[in-house]
Amino acid sequence: MDFWDKIRHLDRRVIFILMVLGVGIPLVTRIGLPIRITPDVRRVYDFIEGLNPGEIILVSYDHDTGTLPEMIPMSDAILRHAFSKDLKIVGMALRAEGSGIGRQNIRRIAGEFGKEEGIDFVFLGYRPELTATILGLGSSIGRVFPKDDRGFLIEKLPLMQKVLNYGDIDLVISISDDDTPVYWINYANARFQAKIVPAVTAVMATTFFPFLNSHQAIGMVAGLKGAAEYEKLIGISGSAGRGMDAQSIAHLVVIGFIAVGNLAYFLGRKK
């Protein structure tokens, strides 16, 4: 068995080990590779940057725990930007697990900025049935969410006294690991003209490119790369930026495997 035969029959566990090293070493050593800002992320940043203090962003946590490494860095970056500009945040979830994640996340970032629940932000909790919930928010948020997730009536919360429906919300951000932002576009944007930003996993990015071209979405933050871009725009060094070093090296490892695998295949076929 020559070298190329060995490569063709390489144990897949060797590939796993090389991939773990490709990801792990940059995390420990921190290379600091450059991050280029894409127009889709810049549009989201510019839109939020253009909002006035007191204006309202609805952030919906439409994902499960399995995709936290992609979702949390982008959520953190967007929330930090919003709270630093004194914008108000209304949080909610269209996934059961998202309710626990969103609640913790908003309170953690709000705590960094000394924001007060009920005045600067609220978390409304979880509702099933995407279509009915998104359509319902267009007529009355209070009918869909009579109480926040702590059990307080939302009409008693100072922030919610001025937020009746999409007409009072300046931007809707769906942090999602599936096609839930399509529902926001279909129902909140098409019917109520709400401005939508999909903040999605990289897997879902190509689903939303047509909506960017048709301006049905303001912009898009996609995956760890999008989160790293947003961190760079707001001038912080967060977990996404560090992760992008590992991401880039892991991609080189994958490209290397593809090149070597193809070479081994074609050289083996010649024999």
Binding site: R13, F16, M19, V20, V23, G24, L27, V28, D64, T65, G66, T67, L68, P69, E70, A96, E97, S99, G100, G125, Y126, R127, P128, T131, A132, L135, P146, K147, D149, V182, I185, N186, Y187, N189, A190, R191, T201, A202, V203, A205, T206, P210, F211, N213, S214, H215, Q216, A222, G223, L224, K225, S239, R242, G243, A246, Q247, A250, H251, V254
Partner: protein, 232 residues
């Protein structure tokens, strides 16, 4: 209670949580070596916890406040306090609850057809809500997004971009038109459509690889930072 004791208790709880999460992470990754009982235990635990969490959250945030509490409250007003003027409100909250319960009729032998009443209403609502919305989002707005750039051409790059998108739209539609043989000029256009599709699949696969590596980065960051303290 001593503040120092509480602090130490919280720190210990957090450390315990991190250790459990780390051991479960390694248990899941042990599948990469080969299938084993430890992996299957961790997988079953995840499925059980997810379903249990979903049931509890759905009951607490939806079934209780949106169905049981309103029905119980209106029942009390009408039949206990004798406020018969509230009967309309009671019926208003009772009907959706009954329709929801009818869905479970499919578990009763011979009475499964009753669930079709609720199902028909649900499908009717779904179709009524989604057809116009999808027409607007997927067809009208997309046509607008494809054609509008030609009406507002202001630079060469935007023009080239608009032409590429229009060519992609038309050729891909040709590819999915099966009532005519893909030969001649029609076949060439359809073939161009396959190139656009392949570019789309390639981009999607690339993004998928990126997403999966991101998940590995997340887990390794947790193990190296929170568990082992190797990185800050």
């Amino acid at each position: 209670m001593d503040i120092g004791f509480i602090y130490n208790y919280l720190i210990a709880s957090e450390r315990l949580g991190i250790w459990i999460a780390a051991v479960l992470t390694l248990a899941i990754y042990s599948f990469l070596y080969k299938d084993n009982p430890i992996y299957r235990f961790a997988e079953s635990l995840l499925v059980g916890l997810s379903v249990g969490f979903l049931l509890v959250v759905t009951f607490e945030t939806t079934i209780l406040p949106k169905a049981l509490e309103p029905v119980a409250a209106d029942f009390g007003r009408v039949f206990v306090k004798g406020q018969f003027g509230m009967i309309g409100s009671f019926i208003w909250v009772l009907v959706p609850l009954v329709l929801g319960l009818l869905m479970f009729a499919r578990f009763l032998p011979g009475a499964g057809w009753i669930s079709r009443i609720s199902l028909a209403l649900y499908i009717g609502f779904g179709a009524g809500a989604s057809i116009p919305a999808n027409m607007q989002s997927y067809i009208l707005s997309q046509i607008d997004g494809t054609v509008r750039p030609f009406l507002t051409i202001n630079n060469l790059l935007a023009t080239v971009n608009a032409i590429i998108i229009l060519a992609g739209l038309i050729s891909t539609l040709f590819y999915f038109y099966f009532s005519k043989a893909h030969t001649g000029a029609f076949g060439m256009a359809a073939r161009l459509g396959t190139f656009y599709l392949m570019i789309f699949f390639g981009a999607t696969f690339g993004y998928t690889v990126m997403a999966r590596i991101s998940l590995l980065i997340g887990r390794l960051t947790f193990l190296l930072r929170d568990w082992l303290g190797v990185i800050s």
